[in-house]
Symmetry: C2
Subunit: 189 residues, 2 copies
């Protein structure tokens, strides 16, 4: 087997997703995943620290959110900066060609508490990344935390709608609309 494997990380993710769906998360080992991807166990561990992390690999989203907030115009309100990030997420992460994969990933996560727990902790990290990036723009702490929660909730609701493959809308459109709806909802709280 060659030392360098093209797209090893993506192949491992795809193999894991297939196997988790076919025989369940509990009944799949790291060796099974590596074998299905035609790679070795040690290659797996070069990319992911454990079996769960294969579905959450790389903290690209956290970085994307922080970068997006920093890149928003200086005059943007906290929620305008959040909307700016939602565009970036639609452009760079939840692109139309990723919808089917993302829907399958979401379905697998729903099958096992261990995956749901990891996802829950990642969600907290994303919210914290948003709040931290807003504070670095000079937004006061509580305002930053509220804007981050609204942004995270908009992402979550939009993501649920977008990863329902029957829906043809762009992620960014859905997310911006959801954020506006949430902002209106705060007025009737």
């Amino acid at each position: 087997m060659a030392r360098w494997q093209p797209n090893a990380s993506q192949r491992l993710v795809a193999a894991a997703l297939d196997l988790f769906a076919e025989r369940g998360y509990e009944n799949t080992t790291v060796i099974d995943i590596a074998r299905r991807a035609d790679l070795t166990k040690s290659t797996f561990f070069r990319y992911f620290p454990d079996k769960r992390e294969v579905l959450f690999g790389g903290d690209t989203m956290t970085g994307l959110l922080a970068k997006g907030i920093a890149a928003a115009p200086a005059t943007a309100t906290p929620l305008e900066a959040v909307a700016h990030v939602l565009d970036a997420v639609g452009r760079e992460a939840f692109t139309p060609d990723r919808r089917e994969f993302t829907a399958r990933r979401r379905a697998v996560i729903a099958t096992h508490p261990e995956l749901q727990e990891r996802e829950a902790l990642k969600g907290l990290a994303l919210t914290a990344a948003l709040a931290g990036a807003l504070q670095r723009r000079g937004v006061p702490e509580l305002t930053a935390r509220v804007a981050a929660e609204l942004g995270a909730l908009a992402m979550k609701i939009a993501f649920e709608r977008w990863s329902d493959t029957a829906n043809g809308d762009d992620f960014a459109d859905l997310a911006r609309r959801t954020l506006r709806d949430l902002q209106e909802a705060t007025a009737s709280c």
Copy 2:
């Protein structure tokens, strides 16, 4: 050993907390916890499904939140109903005599990702319980979700302050004040 053990559940929780703090979560077994509490492994599993759950035992908080929302006056706005719940949490869960225990529990959770993940998932469940209870009062979905997020964030911030044992304030006072501050912060988002 007698079949009926007074306060078995509390004794197991206290023993687990001591052992996790002394030798680490990873290096503590269910047998260690049971032995320290002068109980058997099978008694442990009568109360908790696994080692982690000993720090999250019973879904009393979820029930308390749903009950509190339902008991709020019919005329209460969503956030007034949430404030009503925060009072109930201060009265029935985060009472002054629980502060030290809660601070120790929080410190132990911070030491291990597995505990943080379980806590993160429990947090999502609490937020969902709040939102669900608000919807059952007739609050529209998005408004209920926003009010639930604000309530959960108020609980979290107030809990951080309250479980800092140097702070003498009541949980309910801290939480109500935080909720008001968050509501004001939404205006500058």
